[in-house]
């Protein structure tokens, strides 16, 4: 599957660049994975989706990314998958890839009520998380190959930010 990395204009700020992914399936409608996350959850969990979006915006524009605002270890070691800090009564989890304190790539997420201990217990959550691990691997390859750089200005490349995920992995 192919995907393109884009910067989310409404969320990106001086303190943190906020990106997301448009897969080839969503290319026609122009939906990012984060747009899908909003669409999927904004009816049942409207306030929570608003809160998540607000927190990302505040981090990007005012506070910068701080370890205490986020939750590490949401993927494999080294793939940089994080989630926002889990509020006590929250139902949703949103995953993203972290690039230092400079940039994040928002993926999707899903319902993770406190009754669920492992993300694998919710197929939607599992799909969102495992998909982002593949995105992280593809971007790590690009960094290794020298076609993607992480600078103080965010992510930069001499390509068009189009990448391919190996579905069989």
């Amino acid at each position: 599957m192919n995907f393109t990395l884009v910067e989310i204009e409404e969320l990106s700020g001086e303190k943190l660049k906020v990106y997301s992914i448009i897969t080839e399936d969503d290319e026609e409608v122009g939906y990012t994975r984060y747009d899908r996350f909003i669409e999927d959850n904004s009816v049942e969990f409207k306030e929570e989706v608003e809160d998540i979006t607000n927190r990302i915006e505040v981090i990007a524009r005012y506070t910068g990314l701080r370890d205490d605002f986020i939750k590490a270890g949401e993927g494999n070691i080294g793939d940089g998958i994080y989630a926002l800090y889990d509020k006590p009564k929250s139902n949703l989890r949103l995953y993203f890839i972290r690039y230092g304190n400079v940039a994040i790539v928002l993926g999707g997420g899903g319902q993770k009520p406190k009754s669920i201990r492992r993300l694998q217990e919710n197929p939607q959550l599992k799909e969102a998380n495992y998909f982002l691990r593949k995105v992280s691997a593809a971007l790590a390859d690009a960094v290794r190959e020298g076609t993607l750089s992480i600078t103080d200005e965010g992510l930069e490349s001499n390509t068009d930010f189009n990448y391919t995920i190996d579905e069989d992995e």
């Binding site: 393109t4 990395l5 884009v6 910067e7 989310i8 204009e9 409404e10 969320l11 990106s12 990106y19 997301s20 448009i22 122009g30 939906y31 990012t32 984060y34 747009d35 909003i38 669409e39 904004s42 989706v49 608003e50 809160d51 979006t53 607000n54 927190r55 915006e57 505040v58 981090i59 005012y62 506070t63 701080r66 205490d68 605002f69 800090y85 509020k87 750089s149 200005e153 965010g154 992510l155 930069e156 490349s157 001499n158 390509t159 068009d160 930010f161």
Partner: protein, 156 residues
């Protein structure tokens, strides 16, 4: 070098247009408050564990405090201020009366009878003699129907 294309998200736009501004401001203040506490702990060169001991709290409570999602009580904030030597809640030393200044600019050519203002208003006439500036008790302005510009300027 290229940068990723900027994406205008209708979903985020819709959400930002319809959200509660008060809720956004609250989130912003909570996160900025948490950031201030984080910075103060770092500046004191102590670990969160040590801070937890100072505050007589579990480590998990401190994690919550610095997460930017916690709704603090004023007592907790005062305790944190005390232990970290920082100011989180800005209040004046004396529980004084809030001072407000009311300034109204009136053209003398208007039919408003300013000289009938009751109370102890301060008045000035400019060099051309056609502008009157008064600073007088709010009640006086209400009494004769003058517009009121509130220039209150106080912390918090």
């Amino acid at each position: 070098m290229n940068k990723p294309k900027r994406h205008k998200s209708p979903a985020v736009q819709k959400l930002q247009q319809n959200r509660s501004k008060a809720a956004f401001e609250k989130t912003k203040k909570r996160m900025m408050l948490a950031a201030k506490i984080q910075d103060a702990i770092k500046a004191k060169n102590i670990s969160y564990k040590a801070f937890a001991e100072m505050m007589d709290q579990h480590d998990s409570v401190i994690s919550k405090w610095v997460s930017g999602t916690h709704n603090f009580t004023t007592d907790t904030l005062f305790d944190i201020e005390d232990k970290l030597g920082i100011c989180l809640v800005s209040i004046t030393e004396q529980p004084s009366v809030v001072t407000k200044k009311y300034i109204t600019i009136v053209k003398t050519s208007d039919s408003v009878k300013w000289d009938g203002i009751p109370g102890k208003g301060v008045t000035k006439l400019n060099s051309e003699g056609n502008i009157l500036i008064t600073a007088s008790p709010l009640e006086s302005h209400k009494h004769i129907g003058l517009p009121i510009f509130n220039h209150s300027n106080h912390e918090c």
